[in-house]
């Protein structure tokens, strides 16, 4: 007790997160006259998962035509069609009010966004119905332009928000950790928007290092609820050359070199048993993420993966000319952002050589995005007055599987969260801070320095990933999930004993990783609990012991909240607005899409 903050900062709205959700919340809050502080764990515009994006973003073609005045947009892909696609892709688990917000408010924010992009000199590749292929960094440079054009925002970088503060049940600010200096900052604010991203607990991933579940876990501790935490999206990700592991070039090739065909083979050279009709429906589009996860996952489970855990792409059916044409298309799009011959900062020379030489290219599966997060409504409210969540840290739009755009999700939700915060802050004084709470939290944050003899947080964090790799991966079973939950719970018990060998606060990665580990553990506990209770398969939750999609029993969301005896989990049906929820079952998550009765056409 008796610890002090090193600094105090005050504002109306504290927007946390240096990428799409945090930046747009800050911009639209400031436009409504709020005094805003934008806090980023990294450098604004260079942190968060949007910089890793390889696809792009899009809206319905009708809005592209009418609102954005785009002559080339295809108006036959209407808002109604987009809504229909997203709900079906979510395996009907989306909260339909959240999908409506995405579909109707997405075009408004994208219109503003394209203006920022133009003024920032960023060039995207347009394709029908109204999509833009973009590099991640180009995407965030446009966001930074929007920030520059907006008055009333102070930016604080390399500060991690580590706890949301409440007083008498209402939001009153947050605690920040200045990563470089180790100073603890008290942010006093009327409202907080968490746009800090999702969680991914696997060693094989294609994300930045910040997907530690800070936002969901902090909101949970502040009284918010988590949902859909069992659904984590993965897709084909590099495992070779080994120094490029985690690169998304395999997926970007598929998306942009659609003239090339390829067969995916296991370690024995046998093709993975992917039916031609699902390849036709998914390949070259974002649905292929789920399809690849399913077939790669089952084949890996059967012990058929290669030495780097991947499967082998065989391009030998294509002539040299076809391959040249494929790369020509790829570079004609991506040379506007990257050096020729490179994807992001990495040379593609070795990969290109392998494809031209018909050498099988081993490709693995890496985690990208979590559909789950904090339970929010269409105003981005969390149930905790003054606390809003936007982007991947939240949940609701994509249910069990995302095929739509995370980039639009973060921006339209950030915009709405900024507006909601403005409405909330109006005629409200700066709330007082509950000193008992801050004393307790400072004590928790700093007590880690007193520990001796425990494990290093760096090793501890990796053991969370090991547990999730083994028991919470793509293909799940009761037995493995049960063991994973037990192990996660034992790590939770161990957490207070973690020991920092780095004894002082400046750039103390062990300290930061300890705090991140606590957040990741909360997310994992929620995800694994739900995965155990969901005795069916749905979207990215694939149970080997329960392969059927069971609408009759499991068309519900698992909701987690903090109770007196730990995490409490209950269910509710998804929120329905205009689309009826189905009954019955499907044999697998793949046959769900192949059923003509689904009437699915993206």
């Amino acid at each position: 007790m008796g610890h002090q903050f090193d600094r105090v900062m005050e504002c109306d709205l504290l927007a946390a997160g240096g990428s799409g959700a945090g930046i747009t919340a800050a911009i639209y809050g400031a436009r409504k006259g709020l005094n805003v502080i934008l806090v980023s764990k990294g450098k604004v515009g260079f942190s968060g998962n949007a910089i890793m994006a390889g696809g792009g973003f899009g809206i319905d073609g009708q809005s592209g035509n009418e609102l954005l005045g785009l002559k080339d947009a295809d108006p036959s892909f209407t808002q109604e069609k987009m809504f229909d696609c997203i709900v079906k892709e979510s395996f009907y688990l989306a909260d339909q009010n959240m999908v409506e917000q995405y579909v109707t408010e997405g075009p408004t924010v994208v219109k503003d966004y394209l203006g920022w992009a133009q003024r920032a000199g960023q060039d995207f590749f347009f394709c029908k119905p109204a999509n833009w292929i973009s590099s991640g960094l180009s995407f965030t440079k446009a966001l930074v332009q929007g920030l520059k054009e907006t008055d009333g925002i102070r930016t604080v970088e390399d500060v991690a928000i580590v706890e949301v503060l409440t007083s008498a049940g209402e939001t009153c600010g947050a605690i920040g950790l200045d990563i470089y200096t180790g100073e603890l900052i008290l942010f006093r604010s009327k409202s907080v928007v968490l746009g800090t991203g999702g969680y991914q607990p696997f060693s094989k991933n294609n994300t930045v290092t910040d997907m530690t579940g800070d936002g969901p876990a902090m909101a949970y501790r502040a009284g918010g609820r988590l949902t859909d935490m069992e659904f984590i999206l993965s897709f084909p990700t590099a495992v070779v050359p080994q120094e490029m592991k985690g690169s998304i070039y395999p997926y970007v090739f598929e998306y942009n070199m659609r003239n090339l065909t390829y067969t995916v083979r296991d370690k024995n050279g046998d093709p993975l048993p992917m039916p031609e009709e699902i390849i036709k429906l998914s390949r070259g589009g974002k649905l292929s993420k789920l399809v690849a996860s399913y077939y790669f996952g089952y084949a890996a489970d059967a012990g058929l993966a290669g030495p780097n855990g991947g499967f082998f792409y065989d391009y030998s059916a294509n002539s040299r000319q076809e391959k040249e044409k494929g790369f020509e298309t790829f570079y004609s799009r991506f040379d506007r952002w990257h050096r020729h011959g490179y994807y992001k900062g990495e040379s593609l020379a070795k990969v290109e050589q392998m494809i031209f030489d018909d050498e099988p290219l081993e490709v693995g599966i890496g985690a990208e995005y979590c559909m789950g997060g904090v339970e929010i409504n269409e105003k981005m409210e969390t149930g905790v007055p003054g606390l809003y969540v936007a982007g991947e840290a939240g949940s609701g739009v994509f249910g069990a599987c995302r095929v739509g755009d995370g980039l639009v999700e973060m921006m339209c939700q950030g915009m709405r969260a900024g507006y909601s915060a403005a409405e909330y802050c109006e005629s409200r004084a700066l709330p007082t801070v509950d000193e008992k709470q801050t004393d307790r939290l400072l004590d928790k944050l700093l007590s880690l320095f007193k520990n001796r003899g425990g494990r290093s947080p760096i090793e501890f964090y990796q053991s969370i990933e090991d547990i999730c790799d083994r028991g919470f991966g793509v293909i799940r079973t009761e037995e493995k999930l049960r063991l994973a939950l037990e192990e996660i719970q034992s790590l939770k018990a161990e957490w207070p004993t973690l020991t920092l060998s780095t004894r002082s606060r400046a750039y103390n990665a062990e300290w930061l990783w300890a705090l991140q580990a606590e957040n990741l553990l909360t997310c994992c506990e929620a995800g694994i609990r739900a995965a155990l209770l969901r005795r069916e398969s749905r979207g990215c939750h694939i149970r080997k012991d329960f392969p059927k999609v069971d609408h009759d029993h499991y068309l519900v969301k698992f909701i987690h909240q903090s109770g007196p005896n730990g995490m409490e989990t209950y269910t509710r049906p998804p929120i329905q607005t205009t689309m009826d929820l189905p009954g019955g079952t499907c044999e697998t998550v793949i046959s769900y899409f192949l059923d003509p009765g689904l009437n699915y056409h993206r």
């Binding site: 980023s40 764990k41 760096i458 060998s501 990665a509």
Partner: protein
């Protein structure tokens, strides 16, 4: 592989160089970032390198340091291409801790 790392402790303002043996490079191709991860995980968790909010693919540019005297990105530099590594902080910036610097 022998890896030398220039250390700096901001509290005592002491500078020194530590030497680590990383056998893992015999088994796989590793970037300098992978080597640093290996060291903090298995050998010394106190080695500080730019590790938060990084992309690992040459986009964010935040893991800049010197490898055998040459300024480069830890995430793009392949350790196996060198017989030995000497890692030191990027020049012309304020020292924070070990390999971590700020503008």
């Amino acid at each position: 592989m022998i890896v030398l790392i220039d250390r700096y402790d901001p509290d005592s303002t002491r500078n020194w160089t530590d030497t680590f043996d990383v056998p893992e490079t015999e088994h796989r191709r590793m970037t300098v970032m992978d080597v640093l991860e290996y060291i903090t995980l298995h050998l010394d968790p106190t080695v500080a390198y730019y590790h938060h909010s990084v992309c690992d693919h040459g986009i964010c540019g935040r893991c800049t340091l010197r490898v055998n005297g040459k300024t480069c990105l830890a995430c793009l530099t392949v350790a196996n291409d060198y017989p030995q590594l000497h890692l030191s902080p990027a020049p012309g910036r304020t020292a924070v801790r070990d390999l971590v610097t700020r503008p």
